[in-house]
Amino acid sequence: MKFFVSSFLPDAPASRAPRAGDLRGVTSGLRRRLLILLIAPLTVLAVINAWIEYRSADNVAAEQDQRLLSLVPLVADSVIGQSGERPLLMLAPPLEEFLKERSGSAAYAILDVDGKVLHGESWLQGLPPPDSTPETHSEEHEGATWRIVRQRQLTVLGEIVVAVADSSDPRQQWARSIFLRVLLPNLVLIAAAAFAVRWAVQRALKPLLSLKEAVERRSPRDLSAIDGAASPEEVRPLVDSLNRLFRMVDAQTESQRRFVADAAHQLRTPIAGLQAQVEAWAQAAGAAPREGSLALPTEQLYKLRSATRRTSQLANQLLALSRADARAIHATPEQRIDLKSLCEDALESHLDAATARGIDLGLDAVCVQVMGHEWLLRELLSNLVDNAVKYSDEGGTVTIRCGRRGSAPFLEVEDDGPGVAAAERPRILERFYRVQGTQGEGNGLGLAIAEEIARVHGSHLQLQAGAAGRGLKVTLSFTG
């Protein structure tokens, strides 16, 4: 005989632990959006700022040209005579000051109209402008960019060309200043904004996240309302909608449960009648058929009886399941229950079934008391023992146990039957689940009911292989 029946836990997937990734997803999404919304205008502002700076740098460059241009006549005026080929100069004070001020980055030269240098920096030679309008251009020299102005001037020596150059390029300074004055503050601002957004989002979303955690933490069965008072005003409508949804789901679950209970209850009366009849026939099977009666083969009558028994068990278990599920159970007070006498009763009521299959049904019970619902625990134990006896091999061993492990009282039923593969164990707690290849009369509800009852007692069933890795051991540990 192969193993096993039963059980349920329809909401197993829903009771998974909350996924931390989801939580992060919410904040990072908002944070990203806020960052983009804040940083985009900041960047636009920075660009505008840079553009204004760029314009002002243009002005600076124009000023530089203007200044160089104003120096040209001063150079021309400084020519006071000629000594040989070279002109004789007496530098005008503003010119002298200019050269002194920027020694190394300022230069001048006096050229003849052919562009030959008569005085000053020889590298400033070059074709003079064609007429008296000044000519301005930039030129690379010794790794620096020079701004050079050339203009024809009339001096005591006749027409010459004056070249004045300045390598203190304001455009380069501008590049530096634009970094210091525009980009750096903007970068600092953006970085500060990013930090501020991060902090603000975390602060602002905290109530929302704790609400989310509260929703995720609750068991699928807990459909009570969330306390809206603890949430900020903006979140309260969300809490209200959630609570409304909870109420609706709760009402629906409850009406569905009641429907199952009513249906099972209604079914039992005709089934009881059917069973009473079939049981009587099966009992009389084999006896000489009486007048006016239909003789049925004994084999068929036994099959009929077995089917009827299964049907009635199913109706009973459906009812038990829906009763255990009822919210009303949680409302009724728990009583002090002696687990040992519960185990003894279970042994007594299953002894005949076990004996019929040659199974050694035994007890390993220590006196221990728990708070709980007696008829539910009786039902739980009965289902566990029933399963163990039904699915163990003939001549096997089933042990009902109770006692304490550490400080926790426990109830346990162990068999040495074919057991259930580890991978399949969680599934046997699902409603109507039956192990592949299982024979026998199970309907797949026994363990589901037991699990439901365990849940009512704030615990759940633990499934393990029995001693020596054989069979199945189902344990209910009570908390505290």
Partner: protein, 233 residues
């Protein structure tokens, strides 16, 4: 044996009646509590099987009324039939004077077994002879015997063996717990140990064996009288 069946559902009632008749009981069937009360007032039954869910006067009320002194069946053992989801009723029923309960729907062999146990207990309370299979214990004369080939063969039992045997027979076919046996024996010996129980059990085994009665150990619990040759369902 004459039984009264109080059940309003015709299908259930006729099924049970048929099953009980097949098992050799004489069954009177009534469909209401009021009618049952009338019958029980004047007639004596060996046992009554009462459904809790009767119209008007329910089974619990009927059970309460049966125990009144003016009822002829005042001491009739009562087996109540109840729905599984009404276990509260069961407790109440037992408080009101029912002797056992069964959850509907039920299997006939179990009903028969419960009924046998009920009748046995009721007999034990009223008659002096306890029996199990071929074994008989005449408590009035403190004589134990076994039926073999139509003859009563006496069985010699020591006083402590007698106590153990008596307790086992009262409980049969249910198992008797070792703790309870120990308690029963402390009347003889305050210092009795669990090992001593085992000694008496093993002696009894030897004495019962020849008559096809086994004393089976129920691991971790106690002992049960069983007939060696399976008597079917």
């Amino acid at each position: 044996m004459r039984l009264l069946l109080v059940e309003d559902d015709v299908m259930v009632a006729s099924g049970i009646k048929l099953g009980l008749s097949n098992a050799g009981y004489a069954v009177d069937w009534v469909g209401s509590g009021e009618r049952a009360e009338e019958v029980l007032r004047t007639e004596v039954f060996d046992a009554a099987i009462i459904d809790i869910g009767l119209p008007n006067m329910d089974g619990l009320e009927l059970t309460r009324r049966i125990r009144r002194p003016e009822m002829a069946s005042q001491h009739t053992p009562v087996l109540i039939l109840t729905a599984r989801d009404a276990l509260q009723d069961r407790v109440q029923g037992l408080d009101l004077g029912a002797d056992d309960y069964m959850i509907k729907p039920f299997e006939l062999p179990e009903l028969l077994a419960r009924l046998r146990a009920l009748l046995r207990r009721s007999q034990a309370a009223t008659s002096a002879v306890l029996s199990f299979g071929p074994i008989e214990l005449d408590t009035a004369n403190r004589r134990a015997s076994a039926q073999r080939n139509g003859q009563a063969v006496p069985i010699e039992l020591g006083p402590r063996e007698w106590t153990v045997m008596e307790y086992l027979l009262i409980n049969a076919p249910k198992p008797a717990s070792k703790d309870k046996l120990l308690q029963a024996l402390t009347g003889w010996d305050k210092e009795i140990t669990p090992n001593a129980v085992e000694v008496y059990i093993s002696r009894l085994r030897g004495k019962l064996e020849p008559y096809g009665v086994a004393l089976r150990s129920i691991r971790g619990f106690g002992y049960r009288l069983e007939l060696r040759a399976s008597d079917g369902e």
